[in-house]
Amino acid sequence: MPNGVTPDDLALSGLRIVRARLGDWLAEIGRATSMMLETTQASLERLPSARLITQQMEAIGVGSLWLVIVVSVFTGAVAAVQAAYQFTAVVPLKYLSGVILRSVVIELGPVLTALVIGGRVGASIAAELGTMKVTEQIDALRAMGISPVRYLVAPRVIAAIIMLPILTIYADAIAVLGGYVVAVVSLNVSTPTYMQGLREFFHMKDLLSGLLKAVFFGNIIGMMGCYYGFQTEGGAEGVGKATTSAVVTSCVLILILDYILATILFRIIFL
């Protein structure tokens, strides 16, 4: 231990660091919440123009479709292989499609889609708005009397909220199809057996809860991309940091919210 530094000093300085970090963290939550409220208020006062929303829907949804298709095909395929392995000598394979369907619709479809879109779209929104911030384009909008929240944030958040459930429906369908291909080609499950399982295990409430989750995840992805974009300071390095923070925070919040929503939906509402 350095001369003159007592364990008490070390403990105190550690405490100060923890307090400062906690303060920063709380301030960050406060700023993000305030931006979310401002976005809601701005959208309710006057909906952003349909042109701005559809532009963002195209960038977020259509632009991400191929990625979602690839991820979903393999998610379904892996679900089939893993489920078959766990069924071995315990559960008949006629239940395979039902297990794939329910795990995809309730959990894998919405969460994996959100994580993939969080990476692609969250990063792209944060980088775009971050660059606009450091090149004074956001100040230029304000100087023109145009609210950046209404003009930039609201269309992106609304588009993400609309597109996430739509992409999730695609993801669900394609993952079930991916599972079907593996089941028929390599697990000796017949098409009628697979279809029968789907019919027996499909519950509308599963699909709706998955889509409800997707709505919340879309809000998180849009908001975090915009929030970190708007917080960007100091050139290219700042844009890089904003992009990383947007993606990491979106992914962590998606998983935390997934747990909270799962508890509310399946332990309270649908119990």
């Binding site: 606009m132 090149t135 384009q137 304000r142 100087a143 023109m144 009397g145 145009i146």
Partner: protein, 249 residues
């Protein structure tokens, strides 16, 4: 008229504006000179409400703008046009869309033909007729500044704020911009505040020149008085000497 009283602002634990007093009279072109980092751009951002001061007051035609909400500020800002240092053009839009944006957002009753007519008129004012379909990325520095100026003029502002309008331009293009500022001043009769460290540009466009140093106004005089001044700080700035009361940072 813009009246600024005891304006103070600290950024990153450093006092940038330190009790600044300044009046901008209606119809005049005021040039704010000063070394880099003395708070010239920060002053402009306070005038248009993009930054809020720690203390002090800013009145625009008698209306106090310090402490106004973002919504109220947005109403005040529509009376201003601002040319940013790097032009701050929206790079996802064409030149024409950049100029049209404020009209589409604020004058929704204006039909498409009228918006187009006004966009072309403003681009003609700044000598960029026919450039409306170009993207900002394909423009030179001087062209970007001129598009920024056309955009600032979109809504017929009463006040125009210029942040370093000639910085980064070659001397010929800088003179084109100076000429443009003078012509617009005559044509539109607006009140202008120009922040710069380009003394040649200041002589060329100013009715009045002030020198900002360490967060306060240290000199105030007409362009003619400034040429002949014996004020130590102003002389040092004009002569571009590193010796004198202004300490290089």
């Amino acid at each position: 008229m813009i009246e600024i009283r005891r304006l103070a602002k600290r950024l990153s634990h450093r006092s940038v504006l330190d009790g600044l007093d300044l009046d901008v009279r209606t119809g005049e072109t005021l040039v704010v000179l000063g070394p880099s980092g003395t708070g010239k751009s920060v002053l402009l951002k306070h005038i248009i409400g993009l930054m809020q001061p720690d203390a002090g007051s800013i009145r625009i035609d008698g209306e106090e703008i310090v402490g106004l909400s973002e919504k109220e500020l947005s109403r005040v800002r529509r009376r201003f046009g601002m040319l940013f240092q790097g032009a701050a053009l929206f790079d996802s839009m064409t030149v024409g869309e950049n100029v049209a944006l404020a009209m589409l957002e604020h004058a929704r009753e204006m039909d498409a033909a009228e918006v187009r007519r006004r966009v072309l008129e403003r681009l003609e004012w700044v000598g960029l007729k026919g450039a409306e379909t170009l993207k900002p990325a394909s423009l030179s520095g001087g062209m970007r500044k001129r598009v920024g100026l056309a955009r600032a003029l979109a809504m017929d502002p009463e006040y125009i704020l210029y942040d370093e309008p000639t910085t980064g331009l070659d001397p010929i293009m800088a003179d084109v911009i100076n000429q443009l500022i003078r012509d617009l001043q005559k044509q539109l009769n607006v009140t202008s505040v120009i922040v710069t460290h380009d003394i040649k540009s200041a002589y060329s466009v100013a009715d009045r020149i002030v020198l900002l140093y360490e967060g306060r106004v240290r000199y105030d005089g007409t362009a003619e008085e400034t040429r002949r001044t014996q004020d130590a700080m102003m002389r040092q700035f004009i002569e571009g000497s590193s010796q004198g009361p202004i300490k290089p940072v």
